[in-house]
């Protein structure tokens, strides 16, 4: 029996398959299809200090093997999450990670304090491309990444994961800044900034004009960035970006990921993360690999 369990900076999970923030709500919807305890972890929809209504529709455009979205962090706010959503998630044997986004460093800290030790980890969203303030503004300069990571870490009672934006020139220097700032783990990649135009109306399809690209189309970029970051840092990495099959997950782990997140693939197949976990286990057993960690970063260059 191969060991599928992973420990991401103290976040213990029975398998390395998580669901990515923004694609999974607070778990309820997909919980109607299967027992959420089959997942390693759930990263909840990005939370803000106050409720947010998000951007005007249309918020989605389909592109070749991908989607552009510009939801704009619609969410009920961190307090509503604590009172109404977290108790449901806590009925399941699954790691719960709160993804948080703010306009100021103070907002990030205020949310981190409110969350306290109620969740298994906090994912710092400094890479959302769909809001004007905050979000990606914090995530694209090494100094600001260092600073916000350090400030949030100082008030964070659980492992802190920093989610990186791919919309940068050198992902390694951003990853290193987060590590130096005290991040316990990294997750990457968030969506790639993109745009689609309706040639009949000559207007952008998204009302926000631009949006974040996800899905299989971004996978090679994500694998490359996970590989580069894994060379640069010592902290664990949660890899994501277009993972649709267990083979994709193996690719990310070989590139250097400790765990993986499934996002866009959930829309096509609600069972995708469960099937990926099953496929990973079968792969390990067929190849007589004792533990998932044994293949981490084992790409042969």
């Amino acid at each position: 029996m191969s060991n599928m369990a992973v420990d991401i900076a103290g976040i213990r999970m029975k398998n390395p398959v998580m669901t990515a923030s923004g694609t999974y709500g607070f778990g309820r919807e997909y919980g109607e299809y299967f027992d959420l305890s089959l997942l390693g972890g759930i990263v909840v929809k990005g939370l803000t200090l106050k409720p947010r209504e998000g951007n005007k529709p249309p918020r989605i455009a389909e592109t070749p093997a991908g989607i552009l979205n510009s939801v704009g962090l619609q969410n009920p706010g961190v307090e509503y999450f604590l009172e109404n959503e977290l108790p449901f998630l806590r009925k399941h044997d699954v790691a719960v990670i709160a993804n948080i986004a703010g306009n100021t460093e103070e907002e990030y800290c205020a949310m981190t304090e409110k969350l306290g030790a109620s969740v298994d980890g906090i994912e710092l969203n400094i890479s959302c491309p769909n809001v004007k303030e905050g979000g990606v503004a914090f995530g694209t300069r090494p100094e600001s990444v260092y600073r916000i990571t350090q400030r949030v870490k100082a008030c964070c009672k659980v492992p802190l994961i920093v989610k990186l934006s791919p919309n940068v020139t050198d992902i390694r220097e951003i990853a290193l800044s987060a590590e130096e700032g005290g991040a316990d783990a990294l997750s990457l990649i968030n969506t790639l900034l993109g745009m689609a135009i309706d040639i009949r109306t000559r207007r952008p399809i998204l009302s926000n004009i631009v949006g974040g690209l996800s899905g299989p189309a971004v996978k090679p970029v994500a694998v490359r960035m996970v590989w580069q970051v894994a060379q640069a840092v010592k902290i664990p990495i949660i890899g994501m970006g277009g993972i649709t099959t267990w083979e994709d997950a193996v690719e990310f782990i070989l590139a250097g990921a400790d765990a993986v997140s499934v996002g866009t693939a959930n829309f096509g197949n609600p069972f995708a993360p469960v099937e990926i976990a099953g496929g990973l286990k079968a792969y390990l057993e067929a190849n007589e690999i004792g533990a998932i960690g044994d293949i981490k970063g084992k790409v042969m260059i």
């Binding site: 694609t23 919807e29 005007k56 249309p58 939801v71 619609q74 649709t244």
Partner: protein, 252 residues
């Protein structure tokens, strides 16, 4: 809720650019409420990537058959026309909140492809008049005739019924206890205004670009107004696609 491959019985063009696809699913046919939709994966590969939400036109619980009527609008629906009898279709559903079935005298008012989800509803209403608008050629008119007290037709070019908008077929909706509408936004806006003027309960089925179809991804935002007057984005897939006309804004 069902998520499985369903066998296709037929897939035929029933009016210009409009197809009817029937597939077998006893579970969906049994569970479906009028106004609900199924989320269909078209093709096996990564492109098109997203499922396509298609309203249920008819759910025959006795035969265990679902009928979908869809318009060819893009790549996905174009590929869907190529499916034939005996092939299987990957279907999730039934999804969303459907039309509440009201006992009194009702009217369904549809436009274009929006007539399709009104058929199952009309067949379940005890007393129903139908006002159906088409671009040109009509579809499913016989079946509306079979379950409605009266059916009035209009089309943009005069091919089917009166020439002009479906909303020109009536001056007042006062005689109805409830009105149900699905179709182009300007048409639904007009029906909503008339119902408000005439003090008639009105239900609207909206269409938005969708992602997950189950309420997790928040892309199919539809502006709604709460009882306190505050504005919110509801999920067309989970909170809708059917909304009370008083709550749905239809302004963007």
């Amino acid at each position: 809720m069902v998520y499985k491959d369903c066998e296709i019985i037929s897939n035929k063009e029933i009016a210009q650019g409009i197809y009817e696809l029937c597939f077998v699913s006893a579970q969906i046919a049994e569970a479906a409420e009028p106004g609900q939709f199924v989320h269909v994966k078209i093709g096996k590969g990564l492109d098109p990537l997203l499922r396509r939400p298609i309203s249920i036109c008819k759910a025959d619980a006795g035969q265990g058959v679902i009928s979908l009527v869809y318009q060819v609008v893009g790549r996905g629906t174009k590929v869907l026309t190529e499916y034939g009898p005996g092939e299987v279709l990957d279907v999730m559903g039934p999804l969303g909140k459907g039309f509440p079935v009201i006992e009194g005298k009702c009217a369904v008012i549809g436009g274009g492809i929006g007539n399709a989800p009104l058929l199952e509803l009309a067949s379940r209403l005890r007393s129903c008049d139908a006002y159906l608008g088409f671009r040109s050629q009509g579809y499913k008119v016989e079946e509306f005739n079979a379950c409605c007290s009266q059916v009035q037709l209009a089309s943009d070019d005069g091919t089917t019924g009166a020439k002009g908008f479906v909303t020109a077929l009536f001056d007042s909706l006062k005689q109805y206890d409830a009105v149900y509408t699905c179709g182009p936004k300007p048409m639904m806006r007009r029906v909503k205004e008339m119902c408000k003027r005439d003090g008639v309960k009105c239900y609207i089925s909206v269409e938005e670009r969708m992602g997950c179809g189950v309420g997790a991804c928040l892309v199919c935002a539809c502006k709604t107004q709460a009882a306190d007057g505050s504005l919110h984005y509801s999920k067309a897939c989970k909170d809708g696609p059917v909304f009370d006309a008083e709550e749905v804004m239809l302004d963007e």
